[in-house]
Amino acid sequence: MLEIKDLRASIEDKEILKGINLTVKPGEVHAIMGPNGSGKSTLSSVLTGHPAFTVTGGSVSFYGKDLLALSPEDRAHEGLFLSFQYPVEIPGVSMVNFMRTALNEKRKYFGQEPLSAADFLKLMREKRSIVQLDNKLASRAVNEGFSGGEKKRNEIFQMAMLEPRLSILDETDSGLDIDALRIVASGVNTLKSKDNATIVITHYQRLLDYIKPDFVHVLYKGRIVMSAGPELALELEEKGYDWIKEQVDAQQ
């Protein structure tokens, strides 16, 4: 579904991604790990089309479409979803209004009629239960005054509503206590199917105990320097990143 080839990107003339190659197929879970500043969050920003980053080379194909040519909203319509590391607070925009607009814009993109109010609220109820968010959520402003755990659960709730084909979870475990982590992870696992895929960006092995990856990649200095099975995550947890850094730095 996703094919990233030699992707390069920079921000304010500083190159952050220096040739990323990654292929993701339906049903797979990929974990991307790496030390701070290696470009993990930049990768998710570039894939979703954040305007602050400039793509300087390479290509990304998503179900055969040139992803980089699409606007952020069209990428979402095509089935790409990002769970933000720091979900944005939007005072004055209620969750219900936000979600209804998002859903109906997607339906418009595919030439469908807007959802009726009743069907929409039913869907909200159903999806909310996946991450145990209470019903006050609908009237609250998007992420405003939400606790760290609520914000992350809210991200997974939105993912459930939008039913993406590829979800990128950017440090979804950061700021979560164990209980919230379990709820979030079980939500992600509930939504998993043979037709969709997940990229999990994380620092720690901890999240991968709950969301089992098929592949683990190490991102360092803007490149994927190592790819292996889930056992690599365990090895990293034990030994840290230094041995990889040394290997890579020695080669250069």
């Binding site: 954040h50 944005v88 939007i90 402003a141």
Partner: protein, 449 residues
Amino acid sequence: MNALKQYIDLFDQNSSLIEEQSPALLNTLRRVAREHLQDAQLPRKGSEDYEATDLEAVFAHDYGVNVNRLPFEADPANTFHCDVPNMSTCMYYNSNDTFHSSATAERNIGQVVVEPFSMAAVDYPEVMSDHYGKLANLSDPTVALNTLLLQDGLFIYVPDGVVAERPIQLVNIFNAALDMMVQRRLLIIVGKNAAIKLLACDHTQSPDYHYLNNQVVEIVAMQGSTVDFYDMEESTPLTSRVSSIYVEQHEGSNVLIDGITLVNGFTRNNYHVEVNGEHAETQLLGMTIASGNQHVDSHTFISHNAPHCHSNEMFKYVLNDNAVGAFAGKILVKPNCPRVEAYQGNRNLCGAPTAKMYTKPQLEIYTDDVMCSHGSAVGQLDEEALFYMRTRGIGIDEARRLLMQAFVADVIDGVRLDALKDRLHYLVEKRFAGTLSNCAGCLQACRKS
């Protein structure tokens, strides 16, 4: 060149005609206004309190004045559909400069007096003469001009202890087939422990003519009274408005003034509040949504002349395209007024780099033991919030609209009339979507913004 001259000359040539058709009460003050205008000049852009606004240029246009009191359309309710309907209000119409009541006016019969000055001068001569022109300041040339040319106005009187059951709605319409200036005037007297909610909306039916509404409103809130005055403008790019609202508050009164501009050409709104009695509360709210070449300037002055009073002021602007907004707010706390709480806020969103906002907060405090603050900010749409929404599939235009609507939501929520609050949320949504009823013939092209 002095733009006032054409109107003063017109008065001098027609003074006897004007005076014959007006209640005597108006004529007494008219002579005083004439003296004030003898050497008066309208403020030019850059003069004090007019940093962004050129009144001379606004009045320089050759407007017609209805000196002969020619009647306009008999019943505007037949042809005009107001954007704020079905609120169970008592509806009154003001077609250009002529008042009409409607069938709904009977709803408040026996409670509230709403009638033109020509009738009120006969029915309530003492109330009229006690209050007409007492608050309005004739050294402001626009107020003097209003007083000079005024032939009729609307008198709203809520006697002591009367709580008006229904809101009063006054629909002001421009529909004359010529360029025209009108003097609109309201005198609102709310008695002791009385209460009333008023909604005035300014509309323009004919988008092809230049109109100027030179308006003066005087509101007296007696001891323990409650007054809500919502003043909404939804006109056209060729419509100008200069409005001065004067308020006097007595002990324990509670007054809310809310100025809303959805569509206009040029607008200057002056608010002058004298808080004279203890334990009075004042809410002064403003919301402006401007695009194209709209110009909206609000000038506020709240004078705390008594202790233990509370005022809260919040003005919000959303400006797009080449729109210009201005806000100047002054709060004065006089000596010996302890325990006054006065807050002022002005928040502005510039959605385009070509939009301009001028803002000037001012506090003058001559008493210790008060709590006062002011805050003023001009910003752009939150880029991160926009991106967040786009990653959820909300297109950039829709995302901008949602954020702009959210920005003004709390000012709308300050409205103390539920039906109007809901209606305003709806109208603002339509305004940002460019689908207000008068948008079809409008030149603003706000669809882009």
